[in-house]
């Protein structure tokens, strides 16, 4: 009897915080790529430069920083050529800001589709991780081009096998960005004014993360604390280590950052799933 072979869906209240129904989420994994593809396509429809903006923006910022922060203000760039220094930090920070910008209002922005069709809501933030990763990849290639150019010019010598570890850095970055995004998304679903925090948070993060200044500028005794409080600190430094070679990052700081990232991610996922269940009744 074919009837007995059919999948049975059980609808019931999910009890407690840990009842995550991950099997259902896995069943909908196709949607991840569908949404990521949609976001990428839509971003470039009817635009003049299309993906060109992904390259242009960080280059412009790098030029600005090189001229002002390094040139005028004279802030150290840790013995690296200024453009390389800023670019490598920027691409990580840009990914973080794009992801949390996309995810912080996820329930409010997608209300019309969430209220009409079912799919695990976590798919939307996850898909923004993927669509922004494509942008990150393009920017990474730009950095690579710069690295090769500077290497050939003899101004830098950081390019090495370490670059292979970059995907790990991306994973760490993605995990943390997702964590903050989920926490924000879950909070703004219930209390809309928290959405005002997001642009503020993005701007503050650029300053509290060593994008414009080197990690070494943080006094030694505070480095672990800094990595613990703002995991991006270590993430950016990890990125710099992969791409440029030099780094002051110690295993302790790395661990502190990973710890905070995992805790944040865990809380983010749990809170998000909890809010997801009944958000459509209150949004």
């Amino acid at each position: 009897m074919t009837g007995s072979l059919k999948r049975v869906t059980i609808v019931r209240r999910r009890s407690g915080w840990f009842d995550l129904d991950l099997r259902r989420a896995w069943g909908h994994r196709d949607l991840l790529f569908l949404f990521a593809l949609r976001d990428i396509k839509v971003r470039h429809k009817q635009t003049l430069l299309g993906p060109g903006w992904l390259v242009l923006q960080p280059l412009v910022w790098t030029a600005v920083f090189t001229a002002t922060v390094s040139g005028v203000a004279g802030v150290s760039t840790a013995n690296q050529p200024a453009p390389l220094f800023y670019l490598s930090g920027l691409i990580a920070w840009a990914y973080f800001s794009q992801v949390i910008h996309a995810t912080s209002q996820v329930f409010i922005e997608n209300e019309h589709i969430f209220s009409k069709v079912y799919f695990p809501r976590i798919i939307v933030p996850l898909s923004s991780l993927i669509s922004n990763a494509v942008a990150l990849l393009i920017q990474f290639l730009v950095v690579l081009a710069f690295l090769i150019a500077f290497q050939w010019l003899g101004k830098a010598d950081g390019l090495s096998w370490r670059i292979v570890a970059f995907p790990m850095v991306v994973l760490h970055l993605a995990a943390f960005s997702l964590a903050i995004g989920l926490l924000l998304g879950a909070s703004t679903a219930k209390y809309r004014d928290l959405a005002f925090m997001t642009p503020f948070l993005i701007q503050v993060s650029m300053f509290v993360t060593p994008v414009l200044y080197p990690f070494s500028a943080i006094p030694e005794q505070f480095r672990v604390l800094a990595s613990f409080a703002n995991p991006l600190t270590a993430i950016v430094e990890e990125g710099r280590w992969c791409l440029l070679g030099e780094s002051m990052l110690s295993p302790g700081q790395l661990l502190a950052s990973l710890f905070t990232t995992s805790v944040a991610l865990g809380c983010g996922v749990l809170l998000y799933q909890r809010v997801e269940r009944t958000v459509m009744d209150t949004i």
Partner: protein
Amino acid sequence: MSSLKEEIHYFLDRLRGKRPARRSGEFYALRDVTFSIPVGSVCGIIGRNGSGKTTLLKVLTSITEPDEGEARLRGRVGSLLEVGAGFHPELDGIENIYLNGGILGMSRSEITSKLDRIIEFADVGAVMETPVKRYSSGMYVRLAFAIAAYLEPDILLVDEVLAVGDADFQRKSLAKMKDAAGEGRTVLFVSHNMAMVRQLCDMAIFLEEGCVKQIGPSSAVIDRYLLASTPQSVQVQRTETDAVWGELRVVEPSTETVCPHLKFGGDYDFVLRLGAKQPFKRGVAQVRILDQEGVLISSLESLAEGVDQFDISEVVEVVFSVRSLGLLPGTYLAGYSLYAWGEEEARLSAEACLSFEVIPATVNDAYWPYLREHGIVRLAHSANLRYPLLSPQLSDPAGLASRPEGLPPVE
């Protein structure tokens, strides 16, 4: 929405293990709803607005979680709570087919195999390649429904989606749902349209204030629903002057029971009961049927129907027998006037003393009911098909059809 303070209190109560009292502003949208629907049935879910029908569908589709209880759905579940869920305005028709189809649960390969049929069903033409934001609302709805129509789930949950779109679209969608039922799929259909529910569904569930009032064969449940929507006692208004009084009722001919709901195409008597306190000579009665805005639709005239001027000594009833009611579904008003023959001014008049509703129904075992948008009145008619034979010259100038094979065409 509870405030932060309430939230904290609630949370602390839960931690302490206390079962907290219901928070302010809460009520049960569904209560003790229990039913099972056998494979292959089409079940209608009916009830007033706010009775919990849409909430029930939202729970069954996992859009919102139940507070208590469990539902089991065997097979693939497809839902149409709104057509075009997930459509992105910047993407074109084909891209949206893949997007919407994916959201509804179809795999990419499945969509590709059905793509041609979907495009054909949608019938939007060349605009397939342009962004959906340029489509007219009709095209949009047709495309969206086409995708959903080919979803082919084991269980289909439909929420009054058919209320949107023109009559043509509604016809197509109803046909598709009937097909689904024929293929052995289970359909749950939330609707306000009793005629559609009667046509399509073999069973129905009547919800009222979140509780199941009745569940069973659709006709019985629909009748129970209509009965519940009717005020129990119908007050008949009496209009009177010093000399005469009058009462107007609409009754069912055989039973003489008063009906506030008339079935389209049914037989009813408009009974005007007149009484005279002093003898009244040579009366002429007129009953007027008006629409909700007071526009006169039809007058029922005693004199025009062959009833001579009548005398009223005590009480008389003028019975206007309407057969095969041609008034299309809607709400109507009725009034009347009593004249004495030869006089301009009515002796007794009531503008709109009675209100009644005509509910949709089919005629002559037809598949499709008459609905509000067909106009105001149905002219008595019947429809037939015939295939005329045209003369050979006109339809077939080259003579290709009638010439046997092998012979050259006629000049």
